[in-house]
């Protein structure tokens, strides 16, 4: 088998495509033979060093590691034993990750070890020893439990107090963690399929990138005045500065991308408040990351950076795809295009090399990382953010009238990146809440007070008020309450936050439109009310409302919650709803009794309602006894519906009562008039009689 040049191999002697590699194309079998030949008794043949490196790095592009190892073992039978083991040893030492990540490869090599051992060659056995292969657990698992942070140093988790430097460091930690998990095979699959399907590691990294950009936009847009918004932008520009120093280009790109996004770039009033220094820096970074001339600015700077650095993943993915598209896999009649492998190897070697960096220049603060990670998990659509931007600074008369005025719907391009599964969210929420309590629950009683909450709330652009989180209304937020809130928020409310469930409504009191603040005119069906959050608007205003929908615990929305929440937490959220309901119903007990005396029908229904409420309370009090959450929720849903119907009917009946009362008043006044008239008439008659009598007398 170890013949000379085979005709099935094209060697490029004159001008090698890549330095150090003469082979242009060959069949995989010949590549393996070449590789075997490169190993001499004195190690790797110097002229073939480059080839061997590329071969081992890239073999997964065209064959599995298992097959390669098997091929080596096949050659081992009857040829120079030491050489085979040298190869395997070289492979193990230089690419340990292949061995740790590929179980089948391990078993093949272990078999080889067993064969050698049975032949009694101890020295050779040591060469293929796998026990020194370091563990790549962090790469295999999506989320690894982080070692408990040793330093008990307390930090502010509050965005407003957070130093840009600290923020940049923690973002870099998160970024690097996501980046280093991406495996060679992930890159390969992405290049071949151009899709993120079944590639959770790459997807997670991209989700982090997009989440960060959105967080930047939301943090800016949640501020109400231009000056406040400009301050947040300035802060993020400072963060960008530190990211540049850390040579974390990917996060830098995410931040700058967020800051220069159209939703922020159009805020002319805000931009006017930016210090010129910050404007200059932002310009500088936009220039650095610009796609002009094939990202030439970025590439130059990136290559001049040494040591720890995180590349803009997108740019390098683009290069890989470009190579993959442009160069054929097979050339010259079915030979494997090894030149392509050599060129891909240049990019992939760089990426895999950066993943193995030992000295990461940032120290993780797990509390902060957990808080950030959750902040970055929010999923808004581009649309929602743009609407918010329009609400903050509406298109003035000066701005271009040529921009489309109709509400624009944008394709969810990021659809390929799905939000993390409920378990991941639960874990993130758990970590974050623990972190918040560790740092903010000063008296360690397991509750967060009102004042402390206000500070934390700054990190979450659209968090609800204290009262909403404090489900049982005891003036304190417990861990469970906070977790429940965030899980709910993540599951549902935040995704649909801008969408209201409007329906036509008749109001019995003067009611004002939330959008134009004008009165809702008319006698009936004056306006539209949101079922979930209760805001009111004109028919023509309802589509323009930019206020988020802060669902007051609509049962429908909570259904999806059952996936991820434990029984205990469930009880709590149910309790919250009931406490809210009790509050509401306590405000109108008079109507209730009034109403019940009015009609038998209503009395009957009200009893049903009270029964339902009573039933609910019993179920909640005996939390352990209820059979299934879904059953409870169905009941809650029905009760809620019944209640809503009753409320509507109540309103109707009250209006009827009002009209009846009015009629009574009118009738009474009529009676008065008639009585007056009658009395006047009688008196007149009597007067007349008196007069007559007088005259008679």
């Amino acid at each position: 088998m170890q013949g000379g040049d085979s005709p099935a191999r094209a060697v490029d002697e004159e001008k090698p495509g890549t330095a150090g590699i003469t082979i242009r194309a060959a069949t995989p079998e010949h590549l393996i033979q070449l590789c075997v030949k490169a190993f001499t008794e004195h190690g790797v043949d110097e002229q073939q060093v480059e080839f061997v490196k590329v071969f081992f790095l890239m073999h997964q592009w065209f064959m599995t590691s298992e097959d390669l190892a098997q091929a080596f073992i096949d050659l081992y039978q009857g040829c120079d034993e030491t050489v085979t083991c040298d190869k395997d040893s070289y492979w193990i030492v230089n690419f340990p990750v292949h061995f740790d990540m590929d179980g089948r490869l391990r078993s093949v090599v272990q078999n080889l070890g067993a064969v050698i051992q049975s032949e009694g060659n101890k020295q050779l056995r040591e060469l293929v020893d796998l026990s020194t292969v370091p563990s790549y657990d962090w790469m295999r698992n999506m989320s690894v439990r982080n070692p408990a942070s040793k330093h008990a140093r307390k930090v502010s988790l509050v965005f407003n107090h957070l130093e840009p430097e600290e923020l940049a460091a923690q973002l870099t930690y998160l970024e690097y963690k996501a980046f280093r998990r991406i495996h060679f095979v992930d890159f390969k699959n992405y290049a071949l399929t151009a899709s993120l399907k079944d590639q959770p590691k790459l997807e997670r990294s991209i989700a982090l990138f997009n989440g960060l950009s959105q967080w930047v936009q939301c943090m800016v847009l949640c501020k109400t005045t231009p000056q406040q918004r400009a301050d947040v932008i300035t802060k993020f520009i400072n963060v960008a500065q530190h990211l540049r120093v850390l040579q974390n280009f990917n996060t830098l790109m995410a931040i700058v991308g967020g800051l220069s996004h159209s939703a922020l770039a159009r805020l002319s009033k805000t931009i006017a408040c930016l210090p010129s220094e910050s404007q200059k820096l932002l310009m500088e970074y936009t220039e650095l990351l610009s796609s002009n001339n094939n990202f030439s600015n970025y590439r130059k700077v990136y290559h001049s950076c040494t040591g720890f650095k995180i590349p803009i993943l997108g740019v390098h993915l683009k290069d890989i795809i470009s190579l993959q598209t442009a160069l054929p896999d097979k050339v010259e009649g079915g030979l494997l295009n090894f030149r392509k492998m050599a060129q891909l190897a240049i990019i992939l070697r760089e990426l895999t090399h950066l993943q193995g960096h030992e000295s990461v220049p940032v120290e993780a603060n797990m509390d902060l990382v957990n808080t950030l990670r959750l902040s970055l998990d929010l999923h808004y659509t581009e649309d929602e953010i743009y609407e918010l931007s329009l609400a903050r600074e509406p298109r003035g008369s000066l701005s271009s009238p040529t921009t489309p005025t109709k509400p624009v719907v944008f394709a969810d391009w990021v659809a390929g990146v799905s939000p993390p599964d409920p378990n991941t969210i639960n874990k993130h929420v758990h970590d974050m809440v623990e972190a918040v309590f560790k740092n903010y629950d000063h008296d360690k009683d397991g509750f967060i007070s009102h004042g402390e909450f206000e500070a934390i709330a700054g990190n979450f652009p659209f968090i609800d008020s204290f009262c909403v989180l404090d489900a049982d209304q005891d003036g304190m937020i417990s861990k469970v309450e906070m977790k429940t809130y965030f899980i709910r928020a993540n599951c549902h409310a935040l995704r649909n936050s801008f969408k209201h469930a409007f329906h036509e409504t008749t109001y019995f009191r003067p009611t004002f439109c939330i959008h134009c603040t004008g009165l809702l005119w008319g006698l009936i069906k004056q306006g539209w009310k949101c079922k979930d959050c209760g805001i009111n608007a004109h028919k023509h205003c309802k589509d323009l409302v930019v206020m988020e929908c802060r669902s007051k615990g609509s049962t429908k929305r909570n259904e999806s919650l059952t996936n991820g929440v434990t029984v205990h937490e469930m009880t709590l959220s149910a309790k919250r709803k009931i406490s809210q309901r009790q509050k509401r119903s306590s405000s109108s007990p008079s109507h209730m009794s009034e109403q019940s005396t009015q009609t038998d029908d209503v009395t009957r229904r009200a009893t049903t309602l009270r029964d339902a409420q009573g039933h609910r309370e019993v179920t909640v009090v005996d939390g352990e006894f209820y059979e299934e959450q879904s059953l409870l929720y169905e009941r809650l849903l029905k009760a809620e519906e019944a209640r809503e119907k009753l409320m509507e009917e109540n309103c109707m009946l009250r209006s009827r009562l009002d009209t009846a009362n009015e009629q009574i008043v009118t009738l009474k006044s009529h009676i008065g008039v008639i009585r007056q008239n009658t009395i006047a008439f009688i008196l007149e008659q009597m007067d007349a009689l008196h007069m007559q009598r007088d005259t008679e007398v």
């Binding site: 950009s213 790109m253 996004h261 701005s399």
Partner: protein, 179 residues
């Protein structure tokens, strides 16, 4: 010589890279390095005027949402690509014009709609008429191309240059008020 910045947009897997690569590198592809500065730069003659095109291929970065705005900001003309073999990719690009207009703050933007993979007629999911009517709605030219057979590849880039020539050089913000 006038320089044109063209951005190639569309979902993953529609053949953006293939079109770009076919156009910039012709047939001989032995020496190929997508990381060099003027790799995506090509000179062509359009209506007897020599022009330089700098093409930005967005392949591989489709999922990076905030990079897209930066791309659009940088570009002057836009090639919007879908695959005639995938209805999904056609749906994906339908809102693209709105997004470009939003970023550019202008209504009149040079663009061209391209249905790629025309060689795979037997797998067609998007009829020619659908593409043509979207292009008509957008008021832009429409071509079906095949990177594989090089059908219409050069024509597509010539067409986008013509579009850019007929449009105002700078996007004008708020100067054409129709009030």
């Amino acid at each position: 010589m006038r320089e044109y910045k063209v951005v190639v947009l569309g979902s993953g897997g529609v053949g953006k890279s293939a079109l770009t690569v076919k156009f910039v590198s012709g047939t001989f592809m032995e020496k190929y390095d997508p990381t060099i500065e003027d790799f995506y730069r090509k000179e062509i003659e359009v209506d007897s005027a020599p022009s330089v095109l700098e093409i930005l291929d967005t392949a591989g970065t489709e999922q990076f949402a905030s990079m897209r705005d930066l791309y659009i900001k940088n570009g002057q003309g836009f090639v919007i690509v879908y695959s005639i073999t995938s209805l999904q990719t056609f749906q994906d690009i339908k809102t693209m014009r709105d997004q470009i207009q939003r970023v550019k703050g202008s209504e009149r933007i040079p663009m061209i709609l391209v249905g790629n993979k025309a060689d795979l007629e037997h797998q067609r999911e998007v009829p020619i008429t659908e593409g043509a009517s979207l292009a008509q709605h957008w008021g832009c030219p429409y071509l079906e191309t095949s990177a594989k057979s090089t059908q219409n590849v050069n024509e597509l880039f010539i067409e986008i240059v013509r579009e850019m020539n007929s449009a105002p050089v700078k996007e004008q913000k708020g100067c054409c008020s129709i009030l």
